[in-house]
């Protein structure tokens, strides 16, 4: 079979390659839908079951954590360096949560994925109206190794600072880094502190390849009130909060991993949380929520996957029933020539007789 030899008379050029020509018969249609229904429904049930087993505690605190005297001017509260940002809240565990329990902070209405930021930037002493690229306002090159320290051209305005009239780069530069989340949470149960493990919260590839172990923060958020602080003696590859923050979120409502609690929490226990409410979401109407969640094999709590599978599985089974009904009520014998278009409008009996007569003659002619 010389398939690859393309001459003018091969099966390829004469379009006579061996082919399979599947036909959509009622048998195949019903089989396909039943098969899909039978696969989807168990998957849906398993996903729903796993999601129901996940225990999640959510607590919105950006409004609760502002003292009542500042209730009408939250912006002044968060901007001032004199106000006490510490806030205590109490959480009740609804069901037993097995370790590891993941602690997330959730931000709402925060467009980390915005390509340009058309707002006032509040992260420097000068309130400047700038139009920098937000999601592009970062320099991944700079983060990888010390040799690229001066690669700050994408980072403006948070790119460089002057040291004795010489431009030195800010590390890490750019708005994405400078908008880093800096609330902290301290957990305690019955006056005993619960340790939150902040190691291993970032992707391994980020820690090992994207954030260099020879890059140290320099002049990060200097002169900024209320901004995040990075220890200048720890290399970026170990600054996991920064690494987690630098991964651009997909939606304006997102969660990022803060840490892991490695003890079990029993049902009805009261956890006390001390929150340092530093991060300014008040100027753009954002929300802050603290989340504690366990995980299952599908991850966190999201019933949608299970419900979607069950819905489609159910729809498929409904289609099976309706097709069976259709094939019973209006059966069409397969290969029945009376469904050909020239047979569906017969000219009359004489025409049919004539045609049969003619076909007999044609048969006879063919035989010669």
């Amino acid at each position: 079979m010389s398939l690859l030899v393309v001459t003018s008379n091969s099966r390829f050029t004469q379009q006579e390659l061996p082919a399979c020509k599947p036909i959509l018969t009622p048998g195949w249609v019903i089989t396909a839908f039943i098969f899909i229904g039978i696969i989807f429904i168990p998957i849906g049930l398993a996903s729903l079951f796993a999601s129901e087993n996940v225990v999640e505690i959510a607590d919105r605190y950006d409004e609760d954590c502002v003292p009542s005297i500042y209730a009408s001017d939250m912006l002044a509260y968060i901007r001032s360096s004199q106000t006490n940002k510490s806030c205590t809240k109490s959480l009740t565990v609804p069901k037993k949560m097995k370790n590891p329990i993941y602690v997330y902070y959730q931000l709402d209405n925060f467009y980390q994925n915005h390509r340009r930021l058309w707002e006032e930037v509040e992260f420097s002493l000068l309130l400047v109206s700038v139009f920098p690229d937000m999601s592009k306002s970062r320099s991944d090159k700079q983060l990888r190794s010390k040799a690229n320290e001066f690669e700050t051209k994408d980072c403006s305005p948070e790119a460089t600072f002057l040291v004795s009239n010489k431009e030195m780069p800010i590390v890490p530069c750019g708005l994405i880094a400078w908008s880093m989340f800096n609330d902290t949470y301290g957990f305690s149960l019955n006056d005993k502190a619960i340790q939150v493990n902040k190691k291993g919260i970032a992707w391994k590839s980020d820690r090992e390849y994207k954030f260099g172990s020879d890059v140290y923060p320099k002049k990060f958020q200097s002169g900024v009130i209320g901004g995040a602080k990075l220890d200048e003696n720890i290399p970026l590859s170990q600054q996991e909060d920064l690494i987690v923050w630098m991964r651009t979120a997909a939606l304006p409502k997102f969660r990022k991993l803060y840490g892991k609690i490695e003890v079990d929490l029993e049902a009805n226990e009261k956890i006390t949380v001390v929150i340092q409410n530093n991060y300014n979401t008040y100027s753009f109407g954002g929300k802050k929520t603290l989340i504690l969640s366990t995980t299952s094999w599908i991850g966190g709590k999201n019933d949608f996957l299970g419900i979607a599978y069950l819905t489609f599985g159910g729809l498929c089974l409904f289609m099976v029933i309706s097709f069976i009904f259709l094939y019973v009520v209006r059966p069409r014998p397969l290969g029945d020539p009376s469904y050909l278009s020239w047979n569906r409008n017969p000219d009359g009996l004489f025409a049919q007789l004539r045609c049969r007569f003619l076909s007999d003659i044609l048969c006879a002619m063919e035989e010669f």
């Binding site: 379009q15 390659l17 399979c20 020509k21 036909i23 018969t25 009622p26 396909a32 839908f33 899909i36 999640e56 590891p100 993941y102 959730q106 467009y111 994925n113 915005h114 390509r115 990888r144 919260i201 992707w203 590839s205 390849y209 991964r247 651009t248 997909a250 939606l251 304006p252 409502k253 997102f254 969660r255 991993l257 995980t295 599908i298 991850g299 966190g300 709590k301 999201n302 949608f304 996957l305 979607a308 599978y309 489609f312 498929c316 289609m319 259709l326 069409r332 290969g335 020539p337 050909l340 278009s341 020239w342 047979n343 004539r354 045609c355 049969r356 007569f357 076909s359 003659i361 044609l362």
Partner: protein, 489 residues
């Protein structure tokens, strides 16, 4: 004076013999014309020969037959045109027009009469007039015209028609050089039109509709994302994904559809000329189909985008507690698009060679291979897609189950639609495919032959029409014979 001399010389001559020159018709021309007439084409002949020659040719190739009413139009009786063309066209008529140059003022009347006739033969036509007649028919009737010729005098007509076919042969290559298609003999025209024309029409219609679908399904997801990114122009996919979408990942299956797709085999196309009517009636590229495919693309884009976003929403997507960032969501969404779009084309095709299988499933495999290799490049080149498949997505069951769900959710409505359509309103090629699949043509040869004889337009030209007329004549005589003995004496 010369006459008188020749009169004196040519006396007492002995007749030795006679020679004649016959300009034969090519082999297979009558059968070809018959088949084309059965496929529903109207055939005109424009020739430079004189009227008697043209009439003989007409009889030789079965364009004319005994019993047809002839209308001759020449410069003398132009008042023929003024008659009501409907009345004149009641029976099978042929028209012969001599010296067409005088007809300029009466173009519309001539056309009205001519289109109602069974066949038209124009004689003594100059090359320019051939082109003018073709243009008249093209513009007056608005139908698609095809011109076929073999000499330099046919070049004007070939270029004027919508499709020009040149026959290469004894008259030289001028017609071939001016034409869209060139064939070696006239009889190949039958195969060109009825087989390849039919296939090409369907392939192009399916290809164009599928292209709209594919790009709408992909492009609209980018627009939906803008609502979640503050309308800032941020793309949810990596640049390389978007580059490769139309170049490598979804283009090869479409090429295999456009080159190899056959709804019925070539023998069936030749045996059932009525299938050619599907193209003439434009059943496969009407607005209903175009909007249907666009709607399918719109539906697919909505399903792909919203299902992926809501599945990967804000919670952790893996047992390790990590949440999905933009790169993960974008890659998962793109994977779903590749699967959905390629499975859709597999549902559309009806003829699967090894090439189609290789291209469709190979495109999907190529996507995963690309993602793997791209992720292995250093972050300097791959950016956020660094190791995204092996580290983040592949170990997460949600990634695979989301792909499965989205793919089937996109394709099941189309599957249901074609199943319903095949059951309630099967088209001719569906029924014929089923007959061949269940080998009913082998079991019941009589039925198969009968259907083949019925699968044609009622023609008035061609030798089957001649046979038809003969049968009518014979039956008429038979019934008359039988009725005479019973009549009262």
């Amino acid at each position: 004076m010369l006459e008188r001399v020749s009169d004196m010389m040519e006396r007492d001559l002995i007749l030795v013999g006679a020679t004649a020159v016959e300009d034969k018709l090519q082999q297979g021309v009558p059968q070809c014309i018959d088949k084309l007439a059965q496929a529903g084409l109207k055939i005109w002949v424009l020739t430079g020969d004189k009227m008697e020659t043209a009439i003989n040719i007409g009889f030789a190739c079965s364009l004319l037959r005994q019993g047809m009413k002839q209308i001759c139009i020449n410069t003398a009786n132009t008042d023929m045109l003024a008659q009501d063309p409907k009345k004149a066209a009641k029976e099978n008529i042929l028209m012969q027009i001599t010296n067409a140059s005088q007809m300029d003022d009466m173009k519309q009347q001539f056309l009205n009469l001519a289109v109602d006739c069974a066949s038209v033969i124009c004689c003594r036509v100059s090359p320019k007039q051939k082109a003018l007649v073709t243009r008249l028919v093209k513009q007056g009737t608005g139908k698609i015209t095809l011109a076929i010729g073999d000499g330099a005098n046919d070049v004007g007509m070939i270029q004027e028609a919508d499709i020009g076919v040149g026959i290469s042969g004894v008259e030289g290559m001028q017609a071939v050089m001016a034409s869209d298609f060139s064939i070696a003999q006239f009889r190949f025209l039958e195969r060109l039109l009825v087989v390849h024309g039919h296939w090409c029409y369907k392939r192009i219609a399916q290809m164009i509709c599928y292209f709209f679908y594919k790009n709408i399904a992909f492009g609209l997801t980018l627009f939906y994302f803008e609502a979640f990114a503050g309308f800032s122009g941020q793309s949810v996919y990596d640049d390389w994904y978007m580059l490769l979408f139309n170049v490598l990942l979804t283009s090869l299956p479409v090429i295999s559809l456009g080159v190899f797709e056959q709804d019925v085999s070539s023998e069936i196309c030749l045996q059932f000329p009525a299938l050619y009517q599907q193209g003439q009636k434009n059943l496969f590229f009407d607005w209903y189909r175009i909007f249907g495919w666009m709607g399918n693309g719109l539906y697919s884009s909505l399903v792909i985008f919203f299902l992926t976003i809501i599945i990967f929403y804000d919670q952790a997507f893996r047992v390790g507690g990590q949440t999905a960032d933009m790169a993960a969501v974008g890659t998962a969404m793109f994977t779903s698009i590749i699967w959905a779009v390629n499975c859709q084309i597999a549902l559309t095709m009806s003829h699967f060679t090894w090439i189609q299988h290789l291209f469709i499933w190979g495109s999907i495999a190529m996507w995963y291979v690309f993602l793997l290799l791209y992720g292995m490049l250093s972050p300097k080149y791959s950016g956020n897609a660094f190791r995204i498949l092996i580290e983040a997505l592949a170990p997460s069951p949600i990634f695979w189950s989301a792909t499965l769900l989205v793919t089937l959710a996109c394709n099941l409505p189309y599957l249901a639609h074609i199943s319903f359509q095949r059951c309630l309103h099967p088209m001719d090629h569906h029924v014929i495919q089923e007959i061949k699949y269940y080998k009913k043509d082998v079991e019941d040869r009589h039925m198969w032959t009968r259907e083949r004889s019925k699968a044609r337009q009622r023609t008035k030209i061609g030798f089957t029409a001649r046979v038809d007329a003969k049968i009518r004549h014979l039956r008429g005589k038979l019934t008359k014979k039988h009725s005479t003995p019973t009549s009262p004496s």
